[in-house]
């Protein structure tokens, strides 16, 4: 039985073409790109080309640059610890744990943290967010696509309004679930933007923080001065080169994938048994993520049963599965029984219609069986 993988918001299968393309940097081109001999210089050149290619997918390389990090969480942390050092930090209740838990830490260090409310689908309440911004706001961070419900925030618009209210405030967005999945370009009002390789067919170990060239950052890691001194540590050249190759491939097929995944998503919305499942994701959410709740059942138990039938889905956020209830789902206004029953179904460009039909059958069947067994 081949496994049907529908937890692509947690991680995706590394794209094998991209792996093949980058393998050279693991085996033969292993040189430290900072060294001064020609072999190293060649690796350095390749890395810079990769950087430029990734930037140009969503931004103007004249205005934006990026620094490679080890993951999206690191990129989020660097933006936060770098920019939210005084006054207040405004964010939303729908952030990924990388922002949420880093915010708890900066609060301990004396920076006031303000959380904007969410609407029932997980989008940031824009009016609430804007009224939290004042002249003492040092940073605003709004997740682009929520990792639990797929809710899309119009960050270009929010950033513009934030800057209108306080031009000195920095604006950051976590774009980990958006990058390579929904069409978007960075605007001048956005200062920093985090992305991660492994959500789009990259391998783990590479992420990036886009930076508006007019805005400065502080390092999180000090050392040999790589990445313009902003992120020391010998570059993970294989992961970065593979990330670049996967990015190129993903963006080439972005709109085609988007409409195909949209069809799969709609199929799920129609096909899931209404007696058991309620869809939590809004109609305008990213089609790559579909959050549903089997109210009264426990999501994790259902996940195990579905897994045993050869289908892998997520429960809430993989990073927060140690907590009983999803913080973000509760912030959408769901009650505890709804939050307890959340399944997150997430697609990739590789997901097929046939897989979806089978998965819908399995999920409905398991939902009904569990309801029967625990009645």
């Amino acid at each position: 039985m081949t496994m049907i993988y529908l937890d692509n918001a947690a991680t995706t299968r590394p794209d094998s073409d991209a792996v093949r393309e980058a393998l050279y940097y693991l085996e033969d081109g292993f040189y430290n790109p900072s060294a001064l001999y020609k072999e190293s210089f060649a690796v350095h050149r390749a890395l810079e080309a990769a950087r430029k290619n990734i930037i140009s997918q969503i931004a103007d390389p004249q205005k934006f640059t990026l620094l490679f990090t080890s993951c999206g969480s690191e990129a989020d942390n660097q933006a936060l610890f770098s920019c939210a050092r005084r006054g207040n930090f405004v964010t939303t209740e729908g952030e990924h744990a990388a922002i949420y838990n880093a915010a708890l830490e900066i609060a301990r260090r004396g920076v006031e943290v303000r959380y904007a409310k969410l609407d029932p689908y997980g989008c940031a309440d824009e009016a609430d967010l804007l009224q939290l911004v004042d002249e003492n706001t040092s940073l605003v961070s709004v997740i682009h696509v929520g990792n639990e419900t797929g809710a899309v925030n119009d960050i270009a618009n929010i950033a513009k309004k934030v800057k209108a209210k306080n031009p000195r405030a920095y604006f950051h967005s976590d774009g980990v679930q958006a990058f390579g999945k929904i069409p978007f370009r960075l605007t001048n009002d956005i200062d920093f933007y985090s992305v991660s390789a492994h959500k789009i067919g990259g391998v783990r170990g590479a992420g990036a923080l886009f930076r508006n060239k007019n805005k400065n950052l502080f390092p999180l890691i000090y050392g040999g001065g790589q990445e313009g001194g902003l992120r020391s540590g010998t570059e993970n050249t294989f992961a970065i080169m593979q990330f670049a190759a996967a990015t190129k491939k993903k963006f080439a097929a972005l709109s085609e994938d988007l409409s195909r995944v949209g069809i799969l998503n709609r199929r799920f919305r129609q096909g899931l048994d209404e007696k058991i499942f309620t869809v939590l994701s809004g109609e305008c959410a990213s089609p790559y993520i579909l959050s549903v709740s089997a109210k009264g059942l426990r999501g994790e138990v259902l996940q195990h049963m579905i897994d045993d039938c050869g289908v892998v889905v997520g429960t809430g956020s993989a990073c927060s599965s140690k907590n009983r209830y999803s913080r973000v789902i509760l912030a959408c206004g769901a009650d505890e029984r709804t939050a307890d029953g959340v399944l997150r179904i997430s697609f990739s460009s590789q997901t097929t219609e046939q897989e979806c039909e089978e998965a819908i059958r399995v999920i409905n069947d398991c939902g009904n069986r569990l309801a029967e067994r625990t009645k």
Partner: protein
Amino acid sequence: MREQAEKVIIVRYCEIHLKGKNRGYFEQVFMNNLEKSLSGIRHEIRRPSGRYVIENFDSDRTEEICERVRKVFGVHTLSVGTKVDADLEAIWREIQNIAPESGSFKVETNRADKHFPLNSMQINAEIGGRLLSERPSLRVDVHDPDTILHIDIRENGSALVFEGIVKGAGGMPVGTAGKGMLLLSGGIDSPVAGYMIAKRGMKLECVHFHSYPYTNMQAREKVEELARILADYTGGLVLHVVSVTHIQEEIHKNCPAEMMITLLRRFMMRIAERLCADTGAQCIITGESLGQVASQTIEGMTSSNAVIKHVPVLRPLVGFDKTEIIERAREIGTFETSILPYEDCCTVFLPKHPLIRPKLEKIEVAEAALDVQGLLDEAFSSAEHIAIE
């Protein structure tokens, strides 16, 4: 000439000296357990009169060896010392290395080699006198000294010099008191219960009940980790993992909700007893403590004991407070693992108001709605048996 000073570890044992004719047996088991605890580390264990001496190891692994040996039941205390030639000057040089600069001290000598020119008292006086004249801030106190400097003159022309004594795990060598079947949940109590019984020399096997898919793989991994921690003390054990999912579902479907835990405990006991018969274990061990939770009342214990026919049920924590158990769990190193937040099978299908004083007759009537034998056979056929080294 400067002789090679070699690190040694002196291990003293507990109650084995109380044993009469079996003493040889106890000592052999103890020796085997010591050897087992040090597998993978180069060493030699010798047994001069009344103690064990570990030698011939790399001195940078001294701490690791002490840590492992301390956990072997039967170890009363241990000391790290230095082996030197049985020569007064060599001993004196080593004493200078380990003696403090100030405070009170005494010298305590054991002389197994009676050919040594000075007797024990004379050695104490000689070494003590030299120290006093060399370190003016030191004073002698034979009753309650800050430091005791030990000198052990051995028969083979060497002497052990050491200071300081580390407490061992105590108890009796594992394997000298039969074998028991521990009900190991993921909680704080059961590992402590297992520890206490193993400490009295009993070999352990453990049985863990899970309710996958209602519980997850992490909960099971946690139990395996707890078993590994226990295995460090017991020199390995076998963990039996049994699914009670269907049993819980059937109870849920056919019996009053408030009887869930009482009935489930009876199934667990039956499975444990059957495992005893299969493995040669002679008793069941549980971590129950009187009144701690609803199922751990005397009535609860009565109703679960009622299904056991052939072996005793040992509940070493029955008179312990939770705080006392937690203290023990911290000491033996299971606490941190026990409090990981994964649910074990008892919290699934948890009734709002469990029976506190189940009446045996009523329980038996409710249970009659179930195919007890069929469910047991099914649970048994799903059992996995994992050897933990």
